[in-house]
């Protein structure tokens, strides 16, 4: 555990100093919420099963933050740390690889959670956000989704040789998925045909799970999504442990 807290705290400071990372995790989702909130408001509608646009958007945008934290944030940080020799330098100290990975997971998790918290606070104060679920259940769903996407980020960073390529691949996976998974555009507006194909995307599982838990649906109604995310987490951890390289 030596070094874990100091490294976590340091990484946290560095995150806050990185305008792009802080923008996409904390500011951008909020902007989207305010823009679409001002267009559609949050009146309950049968289209969203009796909920308003903002009610379904907050868990969906949380999925957007999770996706970008894992596929873009962590992927870039880890591949860049390796490419620039930062990991090499850490490897020459008694610090264990698990500590380095752990610190980055903790920071990504806290920042993603902060992004979600901001959405909730603004949604609540500006649009009277409704919540019919169980907070613990939502937190569990959020944690599972985040960790499985972080694992995916580590896999990309581990498998792709250069930081530049890792960044491009992360974005190529993230952006199409953002619009096809319901994270940016509600699933309800996607044509039925498209929805069939995109229902297998990892981010779709996050959006479905979080939206379901948000309105009080049970885990048993979402076992496929939860199961897919759990499988992704396990496979991701195994693969990233095997592919982790200090340089």
């Amino acid at each position: 555990m030596k070094g874990l807290w100091k490294l976590t705290f340091t990484e946290m400071k560095l995150f806050m100093r990185e305008p792009a990372a802080a923008f996409f995790t904390l500011v951008f989702p909020l902007m989207v919420l305010l823009i679409f909130g001002s267009i559609y408001g949050n009146e309950p509608t049968p289209f969203f099963g009796g909920y308003g646009s903002v009610d379904v958007s907050v868990p969906a945008y949380t999925g957007m933050i999770i996706g970008s934290s894992g596929l873009i944030g962590l992927t870039i940080v880890m591949s860049m740390y390796r490419e620039r020799g930062i990991l090499r330098r850490l490897n020459a100290t008694p610090v264990r690889p698990q500590i380095v990975l752990g610190a980055n997971v903790i920071v990504s998790f806290l920042m993603t959670a902060l992004g979600m918290a901001l959405l909730i606070v603004v949604g609540k104060t500006v649009y009277g956000l409704r919540f019919a679920g169980n907070p613990l259940s939502i937190f569990a769903g959020f944690t599972l989704s985040s960790l499985s996407f972080f694992a995916l980020g580590f896999v990309l960073a581990g498998l792709i040789p250069t930081a530049r390529t890792a960044q491009v691949v992360g974005m190529m996976l993230f952006y199409p998925m953002l619009f096809l998974s319901g994270a940016a555009v509600p699933l309800e507006v996607l044509p039925e045909k498209v929805r069939q194909y995109t229902s297998v995307l990892p981010l779709t599982q996050v959006v479905k799970l979080l939206r379901g838990l948000w309105i009080g649906e049970s885990w048993s109604q979402h076992w496929t999504e939860a199961g897919m995310l759990a499988a992704m987490l396990v496979i991701g951890v195994v693969v990233s442990a095997k592919t982790f390289r200090w340089e």
């Binding site: 030596k2 807290w5 490294l7 930062i86 020459a92 100290t93 008694p94």
Partner: protein
């Protein structure tokens, strides 16, 4: 000055694919010395260093550091060594003091970071970000990081590459300071002058093998090369007087100057003495001594910077 053995390397071998980086290297390093490994790029210096540091796994041979294996006992060993890598970096937005604070947290018994910053002349830069400080300051920061755990053994890989001559000389003083505080220093360089001026003992590497290992003075002496005095005088030169000086092999005019060639440690003093006591007055004088560069040339048939 031979202290106890700190590093023992026996028949080290390391291969990358079809390239033999280190063919067969054996040597010992003793406590309290500055040991240098010199050789051209690609001679195997960094590979050897990183095998000893435990960052790479040798393909053959045995390494012991403080009696431990750098590969098997990597973590306890890293508590006791300090490492400055040839290529590494820190996060661009990490401040100087934060880097020291962070690395201090990795070790059981770190030294006072403030004092270390002072020693490395980085106190004024403590709030600057890594990306904003100069190359020389980055190197000093990396040395500070290598010393943060108060190591018994410090590795400095290509410490002065990319530094201007002034910064290089300052760095040499810093390295001597590390030794004078009782630590053992293992360094690599491709500057022969650096090895000659800084190291207590030098191993010359070429193509993954040690071609010579001794003190710089012994290496140069064993070479048996001539020293040269080049001088001009007011008035006429008494050639015969100079030719009779012990160790002198030739005296030749060259443009407006004279060149005395010869052997022996006392050559310069004796020749100057002969000039001044025989009524001749020196106008200019410079000497050319054989250097490690010449040793390398003799041993490998190549110049260092080729």
């Amino acid at each position: 000055m031979t202290g106890k053995t700190v590093i023992q390397v026996d028949h080290l071998r390391k291969v990358y694919g079809a390239t033999v980086a280190v063919e067969d290297i054996s040597f010992e390093i003793y406590a309290g010395e500055i040991f240098g490994m010199v050789g051209p790029n690609g001679a195997g210096k960094t590979t050897t260093t990183e095998c000893i540091e435990g960052l790479r796994h040798p393909d053959g041979g045995a390494i012991q550091v403080f009696g431990m294996s750098p590969q098997k006992d990597a973590y306890p060993l890293r508590e006791r060594i300090g490492v400055q890598l040839q290529t590494s970096a820190l996060q661009d937005r990490l401040k100087v003091w934060e880097a020291l604070d962070l690395f201090a947290s990795f070790y059981a018994n770190p030294v006072d970071a403030k004092q270390l910053l002072e020693q490395m002349g980085l106190t004024e830069k403590r709030n600057d970000r890594f990306a904003k400080i100069s190359g020389g300051q980055k190197q000093r920061l990396f040395i500070a990081l290598a010393l943060i755990n108060n190591p018994e053994l410090v590795f400095l890989d290509e410490l002065t590459t990319g530094l201007d001559p002034q910064a290089r000389h300052a760095m040499w003083d810093m390295v001597r300071g590390i030794r004078d505080r009782g630590k053992t220093v293992f360094l690599t360089t491709h500057f022969m002058e650096e090895a000659e001026r800084l190291c207590d003992r030098v191993a010359i590497l070429d193509h993954g093998k040690i071609v010579a290992l001794d003190t710089p003075q012994n290496l140069i002496r064993k070479l048996g090369s001539e020293s040269r005095l080049i001088f001009s005088i007011d008035g006429k030169l008494d050639l015969q007087k100079l030719q009779r000086v012990e160790g002198v092999t030739r005296v030749e005019p060259e443009n407006d100057e004279f060149v005395v060639s010869g052997h022996g440690e006392r050559l310069v003093g004796d020749v100057v003495h002969a000039i001044t006591t025989n009524g001749m007055r020196l106008r200019t004088l410079r000497t050319e001594q054989p250097t490690l560069e010449d040793v390398f040339l003799k041993l490998t048939g190549r110049k260092m910077r080729e």
